[in-house]
């Protein structure tokens, strides 16, 4: 929009640059840093339970049991969802060759979303959590989420309806689909306990939500962003349109069934476990369709990864997404599940798609969008590289610490060390891995400081982009 671009110090170059996108991206980076700090605190509390318990206030409001859900929600709802909202609000108008349908509605969504989560997180820390993992925010804030998702959906859908480009590029499929799925999954998953009858019937709602907030929201929106960025960053079309559509339809068909795989060997009927396990294995189809498309598109241009940090993030994100989706079906088999479930393995697995996979895709997207939003070059390529290496190495240390700890836990438990002194004996042997997690987490956090600092410096004193420069940089 012309008026928002006029507030920056350079002349408007990008006729579509939108204040909504900036708002969402800036707030998402704040949430990213907060979730990292919270994650680090809970990691340190796992090493020393007396960490940050100096007085009654800290003991109450910064207790492990309250901070952990705030950490998870800040990462998933605060950081990733805000950033993806921003990426879609940028990408949908770009692909439709038109303006965002309503900048006002967009700004309303962005501000309401931020305030809603801010107070929602405070409610969890204040002790109003619902007790349902990933869905801890009380009903009032769930309603806020649904309002925001509905207004974003309307905005994006109307933008697509008024598009100047008839053909819907595949990213639009993934994005429109993902926002629609988000609405369905969020509403189903956050119906208050007690409205839904018997306990195990409720549990199906919770695990449906827990799995599908990743599977039907973060996955399709992230893959959509991957398909948006990859052709732009390597300057060639995607390898196969058909393959990307196969991915879309198989995600919609199979992912939704995966909830029960969290309760394998658990207190649910056997048929329901099978209904969760088989689609979990079928997930190899969509993930392979994405990876095959990445490999096909990159064929002959892999050298560009060394020249473009944004592309380096994107490819690494795709790799971790692929690995997470190979780990997932493996864990969903009854045998491995019996050993790995309830252990620290899960913690490593949960961070792989969320941080290693889609956060890296988002970093790539933010680095791509930022110069186009601000009219300024990114301040420092070296800082981008620090961000990359600290994030990736930090995560690898984190992940392997957790996976190793999980395997040890799993096998020790099979030796009957599940209670009392023998349980504590296992805990003692895990201590070093918990330290490893905190070390990895610290590196990840340090990487994000480089990220945020680089963005601030870019917005303030990045070199203004000249009209005569590389048209690729200015084109969306």
């Amino acid at each position: 929009m012309a008026q928002s671009a006029a507030t920056t110090h350079v002349p408007a170059r990008d006729p579509y640059a939108s204040a909504t996108v900036k708002m969402l991206i800036y707030t998402s980076v704040f949430w990213l840093l907060l979730s990292m700090v919270l994650g680090l605190i809970v990691a340190l509390k796992s090493i020393n339970p007396d960490f940050l318990t100096g007085n009654r206030f800290l003991q109450t409001y910064l207790s492990y049991g309250r901070l952990r859900p705030v950490h998870v929600n800040t990462a998933v709802i605060g950081w990733m969802t805000s950033a993806f909202f921003g990426a879609m609000t940028y990408g949908v108008p770009a692909l439709c060759k038109t303006k965002l349908w309503s900048e006002k509605l967009g700004m309303f969504t962005a501000v309401y979303w931020m305030l809603n989560y801010l107070f929602g997180a405070m409610a969890i820390a204040a002790g109003y959590q619902t007790g349902v993992e990933y869905a801890e925010m009380p009903l009032l804030f769930d309603i806020g989420v649904v309002i925001c998702v509905a207004s974003l959906w309307t905005n994006l859908f109307m933008t697509v309806k008024n598009r100047k480009e008839r053909v819907l590029y595949v990213s639009l499929w993934y994005w429109l689909g993902s926002v629609t799925f988000l609405a369905i999954v969020y509403i189903v998953g956050n119906i208050p306990a007690g409205w839904m009858g018997p306990g195990m019937a409720q549990a199906n709602y919770y695990y449906y939500y827990m799995h599908n907030i990743i599977g039907l929201w973060l996955t399709p929106v992230g893959v959509g962003l991957l398909y948006y960025l990859m052709p732009k960053l390597v300057d060639r079309p995607i390898y196969s349109h058909k393959l990307s559509l196969i991915g879309f339809w198989t995600i919609a068909a199979f992912y939704v069934w995966n909830g029960p795989h969290h309760l394998i060997n658990g207190p649910i009927p056997l048929w329901l476990m099978k209904a969760g396990i088989i689609p979990s294995l079928l997930l190899l189809i969509p993930v392979w369709s994405v990876l095959a498309n990445v490999i096909g598109t990159m064929k002959g241009v892999w050298y560009k990864v060394s020249e473009n940090v944004s592309l380096k993030f994107l490819m690494t994100g795709a790799l971790f997404y692929g690995l997470a989706c190979i780990q997932g079906p493996f864990q969903a088999l009854m045998g491995p599940h019996a050993i790995l479930h309830y252990t620290y393995w899960t913690v490593g697995h949960a961070h792989m798609p969320l941080f290693g996979g889609f956060s890296l895709v988002l970093f790539s997207g933010i680095y791509y969008m930022f110069p186009r939003l601000t009219g300024r070059h990114l301040y420092s390529r070296a800082m981008m590289n620090w961000h990359y290496w600290l994030s990736v190495l930090g995560f690898v240390i984190f992940g392997f610490a957790m996976w190793t700890a999980g395997v040890i836990q799993g096998f020790e438990w099979m030796d009957g060390k599940q209670l009392g002194a023998s349980f504590l004996q296992v805990m003692e042997s895990l201590h070093v891995f918990l330290i490893g997690r905190a070390v990895g987490g610290s590196l990840m956090f340090l990487g994000q400081i480089f990220f945020a600092w680089n963005l601030i410096k870019s917005a303030r004193s990045g070199k203004p982009i000249e009209q005569t420069e590389d048209p690729m940089l200015l084109a969306r």
Binding site: Y206, I268, G276, L419
Partner: protein, 166 residues
């Protein structure tokens, strides 16, 4: 290349939503028709706490303090869980709102913790887990809870036991 249907976002979304709803029905609605899910067991009856009983309040404290992030409440029919008591069945959770099975066993499973320790032990342990459990324990001290909250929490934990066999 793109065909005509691919130019219509309405058709596309309709199809995608339909697929998602099929899975939603399969995994959420169908279980309501399974006897084992909708029939409370005797152990479930023990957990059917009257409103505002000490156990019900204690369960609320359990959720408020996030105990469930480190303690599971489900015994599986697998070797790793063989020492944890009777295997949990769907009907055991009939009255749980919400169920507290959870996903992480950082501390021991609490499904039947009521059979293991006395009220005194639980109180001592909540006040100083490292002293009672051992220095390797990473459980926070719950000495900041009010006496009332701690009493309720202990009452809740003691109620977690299987129903006696007939």
């Amino acid at each position: 290349m793109a065909n005509e249907a691919e130019k219509s976002p309405g058709i596309l979304l309709f199809g995608a939503v339909l697929l998602v709803l099929v899975g939603t029905m399969g995994t959420i609605v169908l279980p309501y028709f399974d006897e084992s899910v909708v029939t409370p067991t005797k152990s479930a009856e023990l957990k059917n706490y009257p409103t505002d009983s000490a156990e019900a309040r204690g369960r609320h404290v359990y959720i408020r303090e996030g105990c469930n992030y480190c303690h599971t409440q489900a015994v599986r029919p697998v070797r790793a869980d063989s020492k944890l008591g009777p295997v949990s069945v769907p009907g055991d959770y009939y009255y749980d709102k919400p169920t507290l099975i959870m996903t992480q066993r950082t501390g021991p499973d609490l499904t039947w913790v009521g059979t293991r320790y006395s009220a005194d032990w639980q109180h001592e342990h909540l006040l100083n887990p490292q002293k009672i459990g051992g220095p390797a324990s990473i459980m926070p001290k719950y000495d900041y809870l009010s006496q009332q909250d701690r009493d309720d929490l202990v009452a809740y934990m003691l109620s977690l036991k299987p129903a006696p066999k007939d």
